[in-house]
Symmetry: D2
Subunit: 242 residues, 4 copies
C-alpha cells in the first residue's frame, strides 16, 4: 500500500435517480455518501465511478491507480460489460482489494471472483438486524463491540451460495427468523476480497456509524502491500536432470 490508499467507489447509480425515497437518503448517490465518510480518513484518497460513464468509469488508468474497489449494484448487473468485469477481475488477482456491498452479491464481478452463484433468500420488510462479531481480533472488527444493530434492513438469509470464507467476521440475526454470514473474507491471487451484507438503498445504512467503521476497517485490510502479474513461464532446471 502507498501511505495513502487510493479507493474507488463504484455505484450503478440508478435507484437514486428514479426513486425519491432513495435520493432523499443519498442525494448525491450512494457512492458519494461512501466517498464522503471514507475520505474523512487522511489515509484514504477517494474517487467514484458509475455505470453510465465511459467504461463504467473503470478505465485502465483508473484500475491501475486503484488500491481498493468498492462495488454497489442491484438493478443493472447485466448492464455491466463483460470486458470491464474481466479487467476488474484481473486487477484483483494482481493485488487490488475488492469490497462487495449488499446486493453486489449478485454482480457479475463478485460471482466471477468467487466462482459460485452467490444466491440467497431475501425479504424487504424493514426488520431489525443484529450483526454479531465472530472474530473480534480481525482487523475488520476493530473498534466494534460484541454486536451492533441496524433498526430497519432488507433481510438476506442462508443458504448463501459462497465458497467457505477464509474468515467469517460477522454473523447476522434477523427479526424475521433468518441468519446470514454477513462479513466474509477471501483471498484470490494477490488480492483480498470482503463481502459486507448491510447496505440497502431505501434505508440509511451507509449513514450508520458502525457500518462506516466496518467499511473503513475493510479498506485498510484490503489495501495491497504487494502487486504481482501472473505469468506461466518455462523455466530451466535448477538441478541436473537425468
Amino acid at each position: 500500500m502507498n501511505s495513502v490508499a487510493r479507493v474507488t467507489i463504484w455505484n450503478e447509480f440508478i435507484h437514486e435517480k428514479i426513486n425519491p425515497e432513495v435520493s432523499a437518503i443519498y442525494p448525491h448517490g450512494i457512492h458519494q455518501c461512501i466517498a464522503e465518510f471514507l475520505g474523512r480518513s487522511d489515509e484514504i484518497e477517494t474517487r467514484t465511478a458509475t455505470l453510465e460513464e465511459p467504461d463504467h468509469g473503470l478505465s485502465d488508468e483508473v484500475l491501475q491507480s486503484t488500491d481498493v474497489l468498492l462495488w454497489w449494484g442491484h438493478k443493472a448487473h447485466d448492464k455491466v460489460s463483460d470486458e470491464i468485469v474481466k479487467k476488474v477481475h484481473k486487477r484483483v488477482l494482481e493485488g487490488m482489494g475488492f469490497i462487495g456491498l449488499h446486493s453486489a452479491h449478485y454482480s457479475k464481478i463478485f460471482r466471477s471472483l468467487l466462482g459460485t452463484e452467490c444466491s440467497l433468500k431475501w425479504r424487504d420488510d424493514g426488520e431489525k438486524e443484529r450483526l454479531w462479531v465472530v472474530e473480534p481480533s480481525h482487523p475488520i472488527a476493530e473498534g466494534l463491540g460484541e454486536y451492533f444493530e441496524l433498526p430497519q434492513v432488507e433481510m438476506y438469509g442462508e443458504r448463501f451460495d459462497i465458497p467457505t470464507p477464509d474468515k467469517l467476521v460477522f454473523l447476522s440475526w434477523f427479526e424475521g427468523g433468518e441468519v446470514f454470514r454477513s462479513g466474509c473474507c477471501w483471498e484470490k491471487g494477490h488480492g483480498k476480497i470482503f463481502y459486507f451484507r448491510p447496505g440497502h438503498e431505501t434505508f440509511p445504512i451507509y449513514h450508520d456509524p458502525n457500518v462506516q467503521k466496518v467499511l473503513l476497517n475493510a479498506v485498510r485490510w484490503a489495501a495491497p502491500k504487494f502487486w504481482g502479474k501472473h505469468e506461466c513461464p518455462r523455466r530451466d532446471p535448477l538441478e541436473t536432470i537425468g
Copy 2:
C-alpha cells in the same frame, strides 16, 4: 450418487491426431484410455466427449446425466465456447463433480470455477516426479503408499495461482528442483472439484497404475450424493416483525 457413477471424459483430442508420438501412446485418444481404465470398475459408467463434436459433446442432455466430468485440454483452450463453459460451471454448482487433468489448469472452465489465473512454471524435459501423499486418510489417497514416482514427466512448479485448497492431498518433488501442489480439492456450490497434476501427452502417464488408482478414487470422491438448483427467492418472515 446413483449406485453407478456416470462419468464423462472430455478431451480436446488434438495432439493425438497430429503428433505420432502421442498417438503411439494413446492410439484412440487420451479420453479413450481414461474411459477404458475407469470403466473396468463396475461402479462406473463411462462416456467421452471431444472438442470437435457439436456442443463439444456436452449437450444439456449429456450434462444432465453426468455425475463426474473429467477434463483434458492443452492447445485449444480458447476454442471452447463460452456458452458451454457457463453450462458446465452451472452444472458443477448444482452438484456435478469436476476433475481437472494436468494442462486443464489453464482451461476456461477450471479458471472460471476457481476464479484465479491458475498460472504456474513449467518445463518439458522428461524429468522424474515423486508425489508425496500429504493426507493418507483422504479418500483420494486410498490404497497408495507414502509416495509414488513417475519416471518422466513435464514439470509444473510453484507458485501455482489457486485459492488455498480445502484439502491438499499430493505434493510433488521434481528432479529439476521444483515443488508443486499436485492434488487439490475444493467445493463450489454443491459440486466437488479435484485437480490432478500428472498427465502429459508425450509420456504414458495415464498408463501408470498409481495414476489410474488416483483417478478412480477421485471419481468416487467427486460423485455427488446431492443435487440442488440455486435460486434467490423472496421469503415471508418466520417470526413476527415489528
Copy 3:
C-alpha cells in the same frame, strides 16, 4: 470403516441421577437414549461408557474397538482424568471419529482436540432455536430441509472460541437475539470431529427426529475408512546427496 460402525456413547451421567426433571426425560441416561436411536440403524453397533466406570468406561480395549465416540459432559469436566483424555485424543488422531455434544464444548477432550478455549455465551431460558442448513450437500445435512426448529432450548451464542471450522453445516437463530455456529466439522490427524450444539439435559432434545437424523448422519460421516499410527522416523535419502 467396517461395514458396521462401532459407536461408543460417553456420558458423565450425573444430572440424570440427581435431577428428577432430567431423569423424567432420560430415564436410563442420555447415553442410553442416544444408543437406542442410533442402534436402530443396522449399520451401527452401539456401546456406552460413563464417568464412574473404571477408566470412565474407556479402556484401551474399548478405544481400540470404537469407530466413533460421542461425548456428553457438563457438570464434571474436571473429573475426567487427564490420562484418559490423552488416550482418547491419540485415538482420534489415529482415525477414530469424535462427536462433541452440546456442553461438551467445554470438556477437556474437545478443547484439547481444537486447541482453543471453546468459550461462548449461554442462557437457559427455554427459548426457540432454528437451525439453518448452510451446506445442504454435506453428508451431515442429508435428508433435512432448509431449516429445523427446536421449541425450547438452552441458548449458546457467539463468539464461540473455536478455530475456523473446515466446514460449517448449521447456523442457529435464537429467539432471544443470538446466533451460533451449531454444526462444525474439523479434521485432525486421521480423525474427523463434529460438534453439534443442541442437546440440553432438561429439554427432550435427543427425542427430536431431526436431531436424531443429524447424529446418525454425523456417525456415518465420522466413521473412519483409514487408521494410522503417527511416528517420527529417520529416513534414508531417495536421491543421491552431495
Copy 4:
C-alpha cells in the same frame, strides 16, 4: 500492537553447552543469535528465556509483557513443565503471537496449540533445501524472491501431521527427494501461530539473511493488535422470549 513489538525468544539451551560444534556456531546460544538480529529492527524489543531459569524464564510477568514468543527446543521437550505450557497456550489464545522454530514441531506447546501429533520424517545428512514461496503476497514472504536456498540442512519430510494450515507460505524441496510444508500459518483464539521449518543447531541456519528476513516478517505478522480474555458468561436475552 504497541508501536514496538515485545519479543521473547525461548531456547532450551542445551546443545550449545554440550556440543562444541553447536557452540562454535551459536557461542551465546541460538536465542541470543535470534535476539541479536531481530533486535536490529527498531520496531522490536527482545528478551530471552531458557529452560533452566525459574519457570523456564516464562513468569506471568514475562508472558503478560510479551507480544510474540519464539520457541526453540529439541532434546528436552519433556522437561518443560505442563503448567508453563498451559500458561503459554492461554496467552496465545488471548492474543500473543507464537512462532515455532524447527524441532519445536515436537514441543509440548506446539502440539498443544495445534491438537495434532506434528510428526514428520527426518534425516540429518546435511543436504540442500530450496524453499519455494507459495504466497508471495503474504506479509511473511515480503522481500523474498521466488525461492531461497540453504546449502546444508537437516531434512524434514511429509507427511507432517498438522491441521490444514490457514495459509501455506513456503514449500521445501530437498536434495534427498522429500518435500515439506515449511512455513505454515494458523490462528487460534486471538493469537497468530507461525511454524518455520529451517533452524538446525549444527548448521548456521540463523545466520542466513533470508531466514532472518522471514523471522522478522513473521514477528511483525504475529504481533497482536487485539488482546481478549475468554469467558463463558450467562447473558440476558436481547429480545422478548415466549
